[in-house]
């Protein structure tokens, strides 16, 4: 394993300190925690918006802390949900009395840890609610299973719910718009190369030189299918075949597009992929409101990408366009 690290045990805390040192005017770290908050937290009369999860997804989640997006991000160990006490510290740090909304990605561990934190906060009289993001169409959606994972579409939930919270909306209103985004956002990803866990030094799955993994998540876990390598256009076509039908788009609909790199994909390749995504949408007469190409929700040094489509209406467009001072999502 060759990585730019010191001790693997210190990787999260050193990353958080380095992040704060990069944006000292925007964010601060709550002492003795793995919580990054807006420097001016808690913001008076504003619903606090918190997200978080395992580390290794940078710039998620701390990169989305800032005016117009998140109030706090809670970092766990690499690919491991943060513990309830850490999430509780974040809730206390951002609560101004207007209530707090937790944005949880749908993983068994994340849901349990965040729910336990919400129970701790409610016991102290803080108003807390949560939404669970499950945009990954690679996973079967069924009430008998864990359900779909939360992946890159979560970034749109942060942006849009954050923009509404910044306008002074109530906890109920912010939750409603977050759920509207969750209902309208779908993602699917693939990988060329797995990522290597710093603590174990091992890859999450093995791929031969001429193979790719379709339907991967963001934790180096194996995907739904291993296939022979194909061209960029063929891969985009395959992912779009899964994502598009889920949104039931018609001719006059508009979408926001995210072509998200998994950590080790050259920007050059992301643009090649985006060219095909846009061609596909244009052929189907679907309008594109805005496109985001880059690394937003990564899996360490995994090579691969995901396509996210968000069906937008006037309300979502306005909130997506609103200003954001989050370091990884400046608008």
């Amino acid at each position: 394993m060759k990585k730019l690290i010191n001790d693997p045990n210190d990787i999260v805390t050193e990353m958080l300190d380095g992040f704060v040192a990069a944006y000292p005017n925007a964010v601060r770290r709550v002492p003795d925690t793995t919580v990054i908050v807006r420097k001016d937290s808690p913001v008076e009369n504003k619903v606090g918006l918190i997200s978080g999860g395992g580390s290794g997804h940078e710039p998620a989640h701390a990169g989305f802390v800032g005016h117009g997006m998140l109030d706090a991000a809670v970092a766990g160990e690499v690919f491991t949900s943060p513990t309830p006490d850490q999430v509780f510290e974040a809730i206390k740090a951002v609560d101004s009395g207007a209530g707090v909304l937790l944005v949880i990605k749908n993983y068994t561990g994340d849901v349990m840890n965040f729910e336990m934190a919400a129970e701790l906060a409610e016991a102290e009289g803080i108003k807390v609610d949560h939404v669970v993001v499950n945009d990954d169409v690679a996973v079967e959606d069924s009430s008998f299973t864990t359900g779909r994972r939360g992946v890159a579409g979560t970034v749109f939930v942060h942006k849009i719910a954050g923009a509404l919270a910044a306008e002074g909306a109530s906890l109920e209103e912010v939750k409603a718009v977050a759920e509207k985004v969750i209902h309208n956002v779908k993602t699917m990803g693939m990988a060329l190369k797995p990522c290597i866990m710093p603590a174990s030094g091992e890859p999450g799955f093995e791929l031969a030189e001429d193979e790719m993994e379709i339907g991967i998540g963001i934790h180096g876990e194996p995907g739904s299918e291993t296939k022979k390598m194909a061209s960029a256009n063929e891969i985009v076509d395959e992912l779009m075949e899964h994502v598009l039908p889920e949104l039931e788009l018609s001719g006059s609909d508009e979408v926001a597009v995210m072509v998200n790199g998994m950590g080790a994909t050259p920007a050059m390749e992301l643009y090649v992929l985006n060219k095909r995504v846009q061609e596909q949408l244009s052929e189907k007469g679907i309008g594109v409101h805005e496109t985001f190409v880059g690394d937003y929700m990564t899996a360490l040094e995994m090579a691969g990408f995901s396509i996210t489509l968000l069906k937008v209406d006037d309300e979502l467009k306005k909130l997506l366009d609103a200003p954001s001072k989050a370091p990884a999502f400046l608008k």
Binding site: E77, F79, T80, S81, M112, T146, S200, H219, S224
Partner: protein, 203 residues
């Protein structure tokens, strides 16, 4: 077959020893069908548990188990932290006697299982730790016996290999999850094996 403070501490220390020496095994099981951190998280958390209970004063098994629960909840993370944390918390709440007898132990395990199922929203047959805990609770409700405890825990753990996961991160793999042991069931087996050993040595 009685559990006192000293036996409880011995149980937890033995559990920690098993987790530390099988850290890589648990991690490689999790890498196959999960995200490859089970051994790392459990080893980090139980190392801390071991440190916290060593030399501390406790008045009852319940007292020890409560300390274990809060440490596990704040130090393990992932799904294992809340699940094992809830299991130890429920055990500590189920019986506050200074010495817990066989019936008391069966009752504690039953409460822990209920807590795990409620927190994880899982049922038997979904390739999770419930597939070890439920048969163990059923057997111990008939009669609490350390030999039987070890036996049922081991055979149930081995039986998870053939199950298809429908809960937890392994569920994303669908049929590809078949043919691998469930990592949480293996760590649960260590928990029961350590309990059986501690009870036998205390006699």
């Amino acid at each position: 077959m009685n559990l006192d403070v000293q036996t409880t501490i011995a149980w937890i220390q033995k559990l920690n020893d098993k987790i530390q020496s099988n850290k890589d095994h648990l991690t490689s099981l999790d890498r196959a069908i999960g995200d490859g951190d089970h051994g790392i998280n459990m080893a980090r958390g139980f190392q801390e548990v071991s440190k916290v209970i060593e030399g501390a004063e406790f008045s009852s098994p319940s007292d020890v188990l409560k300390k274990v629960a809060t440490t596990v909840m704040s130090k393990v993370g992932g799904a294992s932290g809340p699940l094992y944390g809830t299991a130890f918390l429920k055990m500590s709440m189920a019986n506050k006697e200074e010495t817990v007898d066989g019936d008391g132990l069966a009752g504690m395990l039953e409460e822990a299982l209920a807590g795990i199922k409620q927190r994880g929203k899982a049922e038997k047959g979904e390739k999770t730790m419930v597939d070890v805990w439920e048969p163990v609770v059923e057997a111990m409700n008939e009669e609490f016996d350390s030999g039987r405890l070890r036996e049922v825990a081991q055979s149930s753990m081995e039986a998870t290999e053939e199950l298809k996961a429908t809960k937890g991160r392994a569920a994303y793999l669908k049929d590809r999850s078949i043919g691998h042991l469930d990592p949480g069931s293996v760590s649960s087996f260590y928990l029961f094996e350590a309990m059986a050993e501690a009870l036998e040595e205390s006699e």
